[in-house]
């Protein structure tokens, strides 16, 4: 496919990308439907389908539309937001290991939202949880981009992210130690391990706008990510406003990752694995990596959420744990693959 003579790149590229996007979207929709088949009440596929479209018995409709579908959609939305944020942060920092989880963005966001819950603020005003999570994510991404201007070394920057992650983790542990009663302890554990169990449509509607706006900003600034492949100096030379680009990606990734934490807590590594799998299929063009990464990220998390429910464990695994079990080894492999380029 790559060796055929091309008069202009664009039509062939566009066709290839459309095919990739459609197949990923199809896989995502199939997985969401498959997730709706799972639950304590066995429902055959036909009844699930009827329930989805509201043409079956009311009980089926309630089960599918208020319990199963929101959970699957939450997993999909979180995966998509993290996939897009990962791809965008990798483009900005010019490194395939950048991701909200690794850089400490998710940990800081979950620390902020956990703090909001801990002090009972979330009970007073429901929207405070996602707002706190987004604020935490923006604080972390903003801090990282300031550090990026200062250090110029991406390796240093990732180490800064690791430090940020550790600090947020320690603060979280401190909150756990001080938790007044076991119930809030369980709550806080949920935040730091990540889960989409028992999410309602209201939860999605609360966090969704942050993820949607953030992802839209990232897509709007995708072109600049391709320019940054040349390095900041050359990117400026071809006409990129680098400061504005950095601000947009930091804000977009902060909103998207913060929204995802508000909905599911800290789920790591999706933002690394999805873009990594996509990249070779889009000729390593950072702009073209964004949409497929989002779609694949969504599909991966829905698949992972299905897997933890099928797994024969006494109590259900947390989604974040499953994501890390697959994602962390992938992270190590990608790191080892890098050939001595300190960018």
């Amino acid at each position: 496919m790559k060796t055929t003579a091309q008069t202009t790149a664009t039509p062939v590229t566009a066709l290839k990308d459309a095919r990739l996007v459609l197949s990923l979207a199809g896989a995502g929709a199939t997985l969401v439907f498959a997730a709706c088949l799972l639950g304590s009440t066995p429902l055959p596929a036909a009844r699930v389908l009827a329930g989805l479209f509201g043409v079956g018995p009311e009980a089926d409709e309630i089960i599918v539309q208020t319990i199963r579908l929101p959970r699957a959609l939450a997993a999909y939305a979180v995966g998509a937001a993290l996939g897009a944020s990962g791809a965008a942060l990798q483009g900005l920092f010019r490194n395939p290991l950048a991701e909200p989880g690794v850089l400490g963005v998710s940990a800081t966001a979950s620390l902020f939202s956990a703090t909001a819950i801990y002090f009972g603020l979330a009970d007073a005003f429901a929207a405070l949880t996602p707002i706190a999570a987004v604020a935490g994510a923006l604080v972390a991404t903003g801090f990282l981009s300031l550090a990026a201007v200062r250090t110029r070394s991406i390796t240093t920057l990732i180490l800064v992210g690791v430090g940020l992650s550790a600090f947020a983790g320690a603060m979280m542990a401190l909150l756990l130690n001080l938790a007044p009663h076991p119930f809030s302890l369980a709550d806080l554990v949920n935040w730091s391990l990540g889960s989409v169990a028992n999410r309602s449509l209201d939860d999605i509607l609360l966090a969704g706008p942050f993820m949607a706006v953030g992802t839209a900003v990232l897509l709007a600034y995708g072109r600049g990510l391709s320019a940054l492949a040349l390095g900041e100096e050359a990117a400026r030379g071809i006409g990129l406003d680098v400061a504005r680009q950095r601000l947009a990606i930091v804000a977009g990734a902060g909103l998207a990752a913060g929204g995802s934490v508000a909905l599911a807590g800290a789920v790591g590594f999706v933002g690394i694995v999805a873009p990594h799998l996509v990249r070779a299929r889009v000729d390593h063009d950072p702009e073209r990596t964004l949409v497929p990464s989002a779609l694949l990220g969504g599909a991966i998390l829905v698949a992972a959420d299905i897997a933890i429910r099928l797994a024969p464990t006494a109590s259900e695994l947390k989604l974040g744990v499953a994501a890390a079990l697959i994602g962390a080894p992938a992270f190590v492999l990608i790191a080892l693959e890098r050939r001595g380029v300190d960018g």
Partner: protein, 273 residues
């Protein structure tokens, strides 16, 4: 009339004056090679000329308009810049890298208008890259990759090209290939400044040489007039014998002595042969 003019440019970073009162007019159709030792201020001067560094005093005018006032994309459509080549963050295809030269026109590698695509094809063809266009840049040799960057600059259709050591780390033949491309750009009416370390290479291709040391421009002029043993000693602290062929193209430079250099007894002495 000169069209890209650095006027009495001084740049201070902290307390240090990295560029000190440099005036360099660049006309369309000429190639200036900027020479000088490491730390002479060459890169700072050209970065000021493309608007990436603000002069502390003095100004840079592009056809009479201050470059510091121009937005990045408008500037990029008129001046192409090749910084010292660093590895790309991602192994993109050669064509996609060249296509980034159209960024200032609103294009991106996956979205090229007809005019953008034509400019990209033209640049690829000029640089002899048409056959390699679909290849990932990490599979190209150093010389091919350097040509990809030149093609990226040419694709911008800018009138001016500022290149910072475009032949660094290339073998002699690839150095000449890249310089010939930049020479051809000037011949076609473009104005180019090229930072080089090889004075003989510079003398062969440049219309004018500019010599810089300690932030000052010591001399600007045709190679035959400016490239002298006295200048060589002044700029590089090297004693050299310089012969120019009768036709005036190029020069042969033979280093005779390295005054005050740290001596290694085991190293062979430099003696005129």
């Amino acid at each position: 009339m000169a069209d890209l003019i650095a006027e009495n440019v001084s740049i201070e970073i902290g307390d240090a004056a990295v560029v000190d009162g440099a005036s360099l007019p660049l006309a369309r159709g000429e190639l200036i090679c900027l020479l000088g030792p490491n730390g002479a201020g060459k890169t700072s001067l050209i970065r000021a000329m493309i608007g990436q560094l603000s002069p502390t005093t003095g100004r840079v005018l592009l056809d009479g308009e201050a470059v510091s006032e121009m937005p990045a994309d408008a500037l990029a459509r008129r001046i192409a810049y090749l910084p010292q080549i660093r590895p790309l963050a991602w192994p993109m295809r050669a064509r996609d890298v060249v296509a980034l030269g159209r960024f200032a026109y609103g294009a991106s590698p996956s979205r090229l208008g007809a005019e953008d695509a034509a400019a990209v094809e033209r640049a690829l063809s000029i640089c002899g890259l048409s056959e390699l266009a679909h290849r990932r840049v990490d599979t190209l040799s150093g010389g091919e990759a350097a040509r990809v960057h030149v093609a990226r600059a040419l694709a911008s259709s800018a009138d001016f090209l500022i290149a910072d050591e475009p032949v660094a780390a290339l073998d002699p033949r690839r150095q000449h290939e890249v310089m010939a491309l930049i020479r051809a750009f000037a011949k076609a009416g473009g104005g180019a400044i090229c930072v080089l370390h090889d004075a003989a290479l510079a003398a062969r291709y440049a219309d004018r040489l500019a010599f810089m040391r300690h932030g000052r421009l010591l001399a600007v002029g045709p190679p035959a007039e400016t490239l002298t043993p006295a200048r060589f000693a002044e700029v590089y602290d090297l004693t050299a014998e310089i012969t120019s062929p009768a036709d005036g193209a190029g020069a042969t430079i033979r280093i005779i002595d390295i005054p005050d250099a740290p001596r290694n007894e085991a190293a062979p002495p430099i003696t005129p042969s």
